[in-house]
């Protein structure tokens, strides 16, 4: 067994939360440059240029890229030979969120109950997903998930007969309904298969793959490229002002499913795709 003290987890989460909000990952910056080379719309180009400038300003001036500094969604891959000491894993993660959001001047956007809607004041709690597997390391992946785009995420239970064609139509429909509300250019995380909740979790996890990298499954890779091409023919464009860059990427994860089912979950992510990870 390898001991990992909770203070190391809290420290790591705190830093990930702050840096995610101030320093976009290189895959996003490359996506802006790629889109600027292809975009025909002057208004769309201008939006992309301002977003690049925004990323630079966030990094250098330490002002969050977006004022919605997100709901912290945390995926943990916990090696089964790791022994977390000094407290609970969830508490350690939430302590990291609390410290990160206070010290980083990040916005508190979480209410304690969906009904009384009183702000918790420190952006806790996070949504935490833990997978246990072999090994003696602890991988922590953090996403600061914006609310505006999350509100346009969708789920549909298709029939097996609807098949891949039905899945494709549904995903394009999701891009259309998200439209300008969700701050395009979008990234779509898609979970296909499993059960109701499994597909939704996969749709979030799919977003952690590096933007622009191929899907390791060649068939899914072809499907993603086809869908991305179709999404970018819709004309919605950056911010919905019209243009060729409606989405930066569509990432699909699948899971075996029941003979009766074809569940499809689509997490809509905006261009403020803030994600960081560390392995302890």
């Amino acid at each position: 067994m390898r001991d990992v003290h909770v203070s190391a987890i809290t420290d790591a989460v705190k830093k990930l939360c702050i840096e995610a909000n101030l320093d976009l990952e290189p895959d996003m910056l490359r996506a802006f440059d790629g889109a600027l080379r292809r975009e025909r719309s002057p208004a769309g180009k201008q939006v992309l240029q301002i977003l690049k400038q925004n990323a630079e300003m966030a990094r250098t001036r330490r002002i969050p890229y977006c004022q919605d500094t997100g709901f912290v969604v945390c995926f943990v891959e916990l090696g089964q030979d790791v022994h977390v000491t000094g407290g609970g894993l969830d508490d350690a993660i939430n302590d990291g969120v609390r410290q990160g959001y206070r010290e980083g001047y990040l916005r508190a956007s979480i209410v304690r109950s969906p009904f009384d809607r009183v702000n918790t004041g420190d952006n806790t709690p996070a949504v935490i997903h833990v997978d246990v597997g072999p090994g003696a390391t602890l991988r922590i992946m953090v996403m600061a998930k914006g609310g505006g785009c999350e509100n346009r995420s969708k789920y549909k239970m298709l029939t097996p007969a609807e098949g891949v064609a039905g899945v494709k139509e549904w995903i394009i429909e999701c891009v259309k309904t998200a439209g300008p509300d969700a701050c395009p250019p979008l990234i779509l995380g898609v979970g296909v298969g499993g059960t109701f909740e499994k597909s939704a979790i996969l749709s979030k996890k799919a977003l952690f793959r590096e933007l622009g990298s191929p899907n390791p499954d060649p068939q899914l890779d072809a499907l993603e490229k086809d869908l991305l091409d179709r999404a970018n023919r819709l004309g919605i464009g950056p911010q919905g002002y019209g243009g060729d860059t409606t989405a930066f990427g569509i990432h699909i994860l699948t899971y075996p499913c029941h003979i009766t089912s074809l569940p499809v979950a689509v997490t809509i992510e905006c261009h403020a795709h803030r994600h960081k990870e560390v392995t302890l």
């Binding site: 025909r40 719309s41 208004a43 769309g44 939006v47 301002i50 977003l51 400038q53 925004n54 300003m57 966030a58 001036r61 330490r62 002002i63 969050p64 890229y65 977006c66 004022q67 919605d68 500094t69 001047y105 990040l106 916005r107 508190a108 956007s109 809607r117 702000n119 004041g121 914006g146 505006g148 509100n151 394009i172 439209g179 300008p180 509300d181 969700a182 701050c183 091409d229 179709r230 999404a231 023919r233 819709l234 004309g235 919605i236 464009g237 911010q239 919905g240 002002y241 019209g242 243009g243 060729d244 905006c270 261009h271 403020a272």
Partner: protein, 193 residues
């Protein structure tokens, strides 16, 4: 007139706005706004509604004014404000027609407005501007002063008075029925989508 065309083709807008100012704006116009904006989003609108229904005075006089749908992140010491981009406007759709009825002239946000809001923009001479969602760091540079007007307990959702200089936006829905989102898709949609 507090709308004038600058040499770079961008319209300079000064607040407050008159009916004539609003009528001169067309979907797709790029603008720079100078003057005062009031911030309000979900929770603040929830508190304004009962006041409007009872005909009571609001914490600010909406006549001629612009509401910016935003909840800024906290300012670092020495800064006026933190990140301050727009939030999704459609969540305020149910409140907007009655505010326009009280003389509000503009709103700034991102995303589609309902048919009821677009109808109210025509009926009351109002305009809906889009600001670039997710460009909160850049947009913070145009905010020169900030004070809290009401509902401080709501934190980021309090009503704030912003003094802005050259705040960049684009006309999404004008008072003539023009809609930038529809025009944009028409212009750039391609076969095979």
């Amino acid at each position: 007139m507090s709308v004038t065309a600058a040499a770079d083709g961008i319209k300079e807008i000064g607040t407050p706005l008159s009916d004539g100012d609003v009528e001169s704006l067309r979907a797709g116009d790029r603008v720079r706004i100078t003057g005062v904006l009031y911030t309000a989003r979900d929770a603040a609108h929830g508190r304004l509604l009962p006041l409007i229904e009872k005909g009571e005075k609001l914490p600010f006089d909406p006549r001629g004014q612009i509401i910016y749908y935003t909840g800024p992140s906290p300012a670092r010491p020495g800064d006026v404000v933190g990140s301050i981009g727009p939030t999704t406007a459609s969540r305020m759709d149910t409140f907007t027609p009655s505010l326009l009825g009280l003389g509000l002239k503009g709103t700034i946000g991102k995303g589609y407005r309902s048919q009821a809001v677009r109808d109210a923009l025509r009926a009351y001479k109002g305009v809906y501007f889009g600001a670039i969602g997710g460009a909160g760091a850049v947009l913070s540079q145009f905010i020169k002063k900030l004070s809290i007007v009401a509902y401080e307990d709501l934190g980021t959702e309090a009503i704030r008075r912003l003094e802005v200089e050259g705040f960049p936006a684009i006309v999404v829905n004008d008072c003539h029925g023009g809609d930038l989102y529809q025009d944009g898709v028409k212009a750039y949609a391609r076969e095979g989508a």
